[in-house]
């Protein structure tokens, strides 16, 4: 197998996570996509959804990504998102509260955001 992927998960105002990985699964507008080392150069638009990164040391990192891009070339993968949070950073109770509130107010964006957070937190 080729060398591992170098992954950088970058939000607009900070680098959320970076490291080596063997597999990255993300949701693009045309469906889920899994990227392994040696993949063809790729540039895609991400849907908001959880991103799963399988690290080289066997661990799993899950992050909630709210819109953005995935770009891959030369075994370097970047995930760009305006807002990205690692599942460990997500406060489940707060996300649940936000989901309730968003449902009550009929705010589809906020509902989707909270939902993505919860799914990412469940996948950790």
């Amino acid at each position: 197998m080729a060398a591992d992927l170098h992954v950088a998960l970058v939000a607009a105002d900070r680098e959320v996570w970076s490291g080596e990985a063997t597999l990255v699964v993300a949701r693009t507008t045309s469906g889920d996509i899994g990227v392994m080392p040696g993949h063809q150069p790729l540039l895609g638009v991400l849907e908001s959804g959880p991103v799963t990164i399988r690290t080289s040391d066997g661990g799993t990192v899950v992050a909630a990504v709210h819109g953005g891009f995935i770009s891959f070339a030369d075994n370097k993968l970047s995930l760009l998102a305006e807002i990205a949070e690692l599942s460990d950073e997500i406060d489940v109770q707060q996300a649940e509260r936000e989901l309730e509130r968003a449902k009550a107010e009929g705010d589809a964006h906020a509902e989707r955001r909270a939902d993505v957070r919860l799914r990412a937190a469940a996948g950790r």
Binding site: D13, T28, V45
Partner: protein, 305 residues
């Protein structure tokens, strides 16, 4: 105490109080510069990757997008001026405003109508005072801009550029901000954000000679570019806001440092004058006493005879 001396003492007290304030402001600004610089650095990875992606789509596909092709007869241009909410920053705001005015003049000479957008109360006050039209203005976040603020600023601009020129849309988007070069040097610069010139973008990302791989676009090059360009504009505006904030704090620090130095100098001069006044007073008192004593002695000597 003589009247002269009292006046000096009072002025020394007031200047000392002012010096304390400017010194505090200098130190606050110094700590904020560091924070702002850290934010600029933290936003760099996103901006860099985004620029790379834009270059990749722009060069790797033959897509013609309204945001990357120049209009044949650009009729209207939007200028975004980034100033600050508060003054006390030396020539920071006037430099930015002057740069915006020069740009506006140039664009108007080239036959374009200019729509002005302003960030920061200082710039807005300048334009309002001269009764110039401002399409939209934003304020309240120039000291510590967040990405959400940049989105808020970018939204009407992106909307304007996507509209047809006939319906009040714009063909070009320029931005005037203060580039943070170092603690001592900040310059007001203007740059054209849209339409995008790919050579400039490639140069910026330092990838001019790098051969970009042939990307697979998901779902399609047009869609990727559609989604990418607004984000690119937002990220550039965010970067400009952060740099302006850092520059503003650096300018404040410098202005307050010279104010503190001047106050110190003034205190020195005033204490010398006060000392001289006190000395003059003492001398006068002595000569009065001596004069009075000798007059008395003379009078006594006279009456003895």
């Amino acid at each position: 105490m003589g009247a002269q001396l009292r006046v000096y003492k009072r002025r020394i007290r007031s200047v000392t109080a002012t010096k304390k304030i400017t010194k505090a402001m200098e130190m606050i600004a110094a700590s904020r510069v560091v924070k702002a610089q850290r934010k600029v650095a933290a936003s760099t990875p996103y901006a860099r990757e985004l620029t790379r992606a834009v270059t990749a789509v722009g060069t790797g596909s033959n897509t013609k997008h309204p945001l990357t092709t120049e209009a044949e007869n650009p009729a209207r241009a939007a200028v975004l001026l980034i100033s600050s909410d508060r003054g006390l920053a030396g020539a920071f705001n006037s430099n930015a405003i002057r740069a915006a005015e020069q740009l506006t003049e140039r664009l108007e000479r080239e036959g374009r109508q200019v729509d002005t957008y302003i960030v920061g109360r200082r710039g807005l006050a300048h334009y309002n005072f001269r009764e110039r039209k401002v399409v939209e203005s934003f304020a309240g976040f120039t000291d510590e801009p967040s990405y959400a603020d940049a989105k808020q600023v970018a939204a009407p601009l992106i909307e304007a550029i996507e509209k047809d020129t006939a319906d009040g849309g714009v063909d070009e988007l320029h931005i005037v901000y203060t580039e943070f070069i170092s603690m001592m040097t900040q310059t007001a610069v203007d740059s054209r954000l849209l339409p995008l010139s790919l050579e400039d973008v490639a140069e910026e990302s330092g990838a001019k000679d790098e051969i970009l791989p042939l990307y697979d676009f998901e779902p399609s090059a047009e869609d990727v570019l559609d989604a990418l360009l607004p984000r690119y504009v937002e990220s550039r505006i965010y970067n400009a806001l952060l740099q302006s904030a850092a520059s503003k704090h650096a300018a404040t620090r410098r202005a307050m440092k010279s104010a503190t130095d001047n106050a110190g100098e003034l205190i020195n001069t005033l204490s010398r004058l006060a000392n001289a006044a006190r000395q003059a007073e003492i001398t006068q008192e002595i000569s009065e006493i001596v004069g009075g004593a000798s007059a008395l002695a003379d009078a006594n000597a006279g009456s003895d005879n």
